[in-house]
């Protein structure tokens, strides 16, 4: 696995002001980023962009984060991509529901850049370790 290529992050978020800033912040942090305004667009971009990680809003006007998660898990090329839910819902039940549905992490709004980057890096490292173990046999 090449360490040279910047990690790719896809941001699925319907609130444009938030989406655009997340994309810019992550770009400043050295990631290659794309943004999508809903789940369907996000799945479509994921097939071509091959992100290393997906940040996905839960409550969106056009299909929620769980639908996007389902669609991503149904395709071979996207099923193993770590997904971090980003949501304004802070109740324990919402977080549990997300994790039970297969989210890899859950960040509540508003978040700091450190939290965002920390969560992304943790998932990338975890995935790299798994891939290494897998390739070693």
């Amino acid at each position: 696995m090449s360490e040279q290529r910047p990690k790719r992050v896809l941001v699925i978020e319907d609130e444009a002001p938030i989406r655009e800033r997340m994309v810019r912040i992550l770009a400043y942090e050295g990631y290659e980023t794309r943004g999508a305004q809903n789940g369907l667009a996000g799945v479509s971009i994921a097939h071509n962009f091959h992100p290393d990680i997906i940040l996905c809003d839960v409550m969106m006007s056009d299909g929620d984060g769980f639908e996007a998660l389902d669609m991503l898990r149904q395709h071979l090329d996207t099923e193993t991509i770590p997904i971090i839910f980003v949501s304004a819902a802070t109740e324990r039940a919402s977080i549990r529901q997300a994790m039970e549905n297969g989210a890899d992490d859950y960040i509540t709004k508003p978040f700091t850049t450190e939290e965002l980057v920390g969560a992304i890096e943790a998932q990338i490292k975890k995935r790299a370790a798994l891939l290494r173990r897998f390739s070693e046999g």
Binding site: P17, R21, R24, I25, Y28, A88, A89, F111, T112
Partner: protein, 527 residues
Amino acid sequence: MKDVSVSWRQPAAAGPNLSVPVVLLLMVSTVMMAVLTFVAARSLDRSAKASAQQVAESLLLQARRDLAKVARDAAQSDSVRTYAEGSLDPEWAERHIGDQLDQIFGTSSSWIIDARGRTMFGHLGREITHVDVFEVIPSGLGQLLEQARTTPVRVPTSVDGLLLLNGTVNVAAAAAVPPLNLSSRTSPYERAVLVLTTPLDQKYLDLLESVYFMSAVEISGEGARNGDPAIQLRDPGGEPLGWLVLKISAPGTVLLEQVWPAVASAFASMLLLAGLFVRRVERARLQRVRLEQTLDRERDLRQMKARFVNMVSHEIRTPLTTIRAATDLLARYYQQLSPEERENELRAIQHEIRVMTTLVDDVLAIGRTEGEEFKLHRQPMDLQAMTTEIWAELDRAHGRRHELKLAADPATHQVSLDPTLLRPILTNILANAIKFSPEGTPIEVDLKVNGERVDIRVTDHGIGIPADQRDTVFAPFNRATNVGAVSGTGLGLTITKQSVERHGGTLQLDSEEGKGTEILVRLPLAA
């Protein structure tokens, strides 16, 4: 906000395991039992009266037959035949016929009517009487004598009947007395007649009373009184002599007198029991209703709280996220940002702060609604200008996705309204129309002055409001179920309605899900 937890369970069963229907059934059974007892008692009374009458008639007949038999037997006896023959000689008769006859027969009076039928010798009281039969003949005796005279003298026979003697009803029997020497042609007479009478006296009445249910009997000039059974007494000629009135102590009535208190007591107990049960059941029902009302209120409050928490969660965290992202951009990458980008971030922060301030103001406005007196401040204002200004602001904030079709009456340039109330009304109605309509669809706004009021009609072609939620959308933090993830506080319509009402106006909502919504606000132009 503290979490309110309310658990619902059925109230404990009130009282023993009996129900009102069971008590009512028992009461109905008691009443039916009472009615059956009453019917049976009446029937028993009727039957007792009939029986008493039969017994009385039978005993009367028996008394007559007994006396008739005595008379028949006596008339054949030598002693009576001797007296009869002796009666031809008044002097002899006075010496020999007297109370001896009564002693023989045990009757109160006895006569021997001589063969010539002109005189009789008998005993009335203790005096020997020698009277002319036809002068003293009591009513009915004539018929009795006539019958006795016409019977064959050789065959022992007698007739009987009732007579009124000295105001007293008597049983009477008459028998033909043959001459001593029947075969002798020298017999001075063909026959005499023996008459025995005995009053239908206390002895007979006592006998009747001893039988069956009769408490008293009396001979009366009047017939059945008070429903008492009675037998009419007549002499042989058919003349009425009076009534034998039978006073019976009706057994059914006696039975009822004994049963009624028990039945009444049982019924009263049942009534009391039923009353207690009804009271308890009603009290339990009221408690339950009150509990349900409290629970409904609690549920409404919990729902409102949940809606508030959801709203705060989304509507505050979303602008906060933008603010934080913008400040992070400015703080961390200031040097990499162009002056224009920095300016943009500051404007975004300012915008989101305005959004949050409005939100806080809305929540506080709703919180202040209750019990606060509001004073209307009318002033001349341009409704049309305010509408276009608010529209422009909202349209820009939402990405200019709709076309405004404004039809405004020129008179709306100068109206007397309270702008502090009008602004939230227009802002919320127009914002809803924009937020819940597909991009490109027109929003129609019609402003009209109609006499002393102004009509503001806003029509969109958006998602509409489900029919069952057209009232609930006005509740604080309540949003229609079809809004999806379109952001909102659930306060817009609440504030709109509150502002319209404070302005003394009305709000009509006409909506069809999937087709669109029309809101008509009517505000009076003068108080």
